[in-house]
Symmetry: C2
């Protein structure tokens, strides 16, 4: 759609985004010509670029490009990719490289609307996330683990088309996240979300839920969570910028039917969006 400010849908085969996955991305929900929570997305982009020592593009420049995209596609999902840019052969990132800015658009996936209210079915993937503290939290372009896990979920969906998300553990059997979402537990009135210091992506919707909890006096814990604890939680829910918040109504033989805290948070977040 837009590559370095110019309408187009191709990049160089020498772009380090392709060669090494050397870049980061953002997925924005856009509604009526406005990108939800742009300031949070830009902050996160800055943070992620800094972790890879990529020069983060100027906010004014990105906003101008986003406006161009929104003028044509006011409703849907906008993806922004920032790569380190085109480089010489070899892994070493040259300081002289100019980052590549890529904007793309897609319609909102047609998820059943009742998933937000009645909850979804989730399944634990057999793939285990690897631990890399240097890349943890960052939404970078090295996403083969997500691809492998999504393929696994897809196979399971052939026998069960109600499955909506795959949950991922690390090699230490800690629950980390969903394939495309972050995860929260409600345990005796407290909100618990997995520690992402070794692996996982810290999405902005996760940050919004955490901020909301703090503002509303709900105790919040960020720490290791086992599958057993999740199975016995009072509520379980997943979040991301496109789906918003979905409670989990079934996971590994465990069923939930009431999600009072998840519902309260979902309404809270929705009010901020409106």
């Amino acid at each position: 759609m837009l590559v370095n400010g110019i309408p187009g849908n191709t990049i160089s085969i020498r772009d380090r985004g392709l060669l090494y996955g050397d870049g980061v991305f953002r997925t924005l929900r856009v509604i009526r010509g406005k990108a939800l929570h742009w300031p949070l997305h830009y902050l996160k982009l800055q943070h992620d670029c800094a972790k890879l020592a990529i020069a983060c593009p100027d906010e004014a420049l990105l906003c101008a490009e986003l406006d161009q995209v929104l003028a044509q596609h006011p409703d849907g999902v906008v993806k922004l990719i920032v790569t380190r840019g085109e480089g010489a052969r070899g892994y070493t990132p040259s300081a002289a490289v100019m980052p590549t800015r890529i904007w793309d658009f897609s319609p909102v996936p047609d998820y059943p609307p009742e998933w937000a209210t009645l909850g979804i079915r989730a399944r634990v993937c057999s793939l285990r996330l690897s631990a890399q503290p240097r890349l943890a939290c960052v939404k970078h372009l090295n996403r083969l683990e997500n691809v492998l896990a999504a393929a696994e979920l897809n196979d399971a969906q052939l026998h069960d088309n109600q499955l909506a998300e795959g949950l991922l553990l690390d090699a230490g059997e800690h629950l980390i996240e969903g394939i495309r979402s972050n995860l929260f537990l409600v345990v005796q009135g407290r909100l618990v979300t997995p520690d992402l210091s070794r692996c996982g992506v810290a999405g902005i919707q996760r940050g919004r839920v955490m901020a909301w909890a703090l503002q509303h006096g709900i105790a919040l814990e960020v720490r290791d969570v086992g599958l057993e604890e999740a199975a016995h939680a009072d509520e379980l829910f997943i979040v991301n910028s496109v789906i918003g918040l979905w409670p989990v109504r079934e996971m590994e033989q465990r069923h939930w039917s009431h999600f009072p805290v998840a519902e309260q948070i979902r309404h809270g977040l929705d009010r901020q969006d409106a």
Copy 2:
């Protein structure tokens, strides 16, 4: 240079190679219009595609494309990238996707020729490789760890321009590989190379050295190797398809000046190339 058989140097911004690093690659040394060890490269490509469930392109098709590249660039380094192709939004790989074939060329880097005979200086990187058995050995496009390690090496090279390679350990402090090479030790006449079942890339030059050792009655061990053992090895050397074989003459305060086994193997491999 050539994308899906057509001269060009761009790919779609929706190619999964860019979006997720969902692809694999090969780096070929080409000399006088011939790609060295093409059959080994194609076998490895098949193996790597299979690990990601990417449909490996036909050998005849790739050979025809390679011939086109070689006609224009008979000497240098040819890179072949195979991605899963263009897909719909989301991590799930669709079965209907057609893999993308990308060929690029670059001249041979002008490494000092004495590195092959007198050896190189190497340094241990502080980055630790993460363990992902599902992706171990595969030369895929998720190479951010190599990029981070190369940046680290590059910083060190500012103070020491004789540094030629960075060595990588895993989180368990096992020596795994070089940033862009595989590693061998000579220990009391035996050849030892790190086990790559948890991380690392199994290059074809590593396979050639292993095969050569077996053919010439040199005992070979594939197992975990610690830094301490490497520092006390009789010889240490690194290999890849572009550099061939470089002995290590210095690593972490340890010095070597004679590399009889490495030299024997280097000559053996060179004879096969001729």
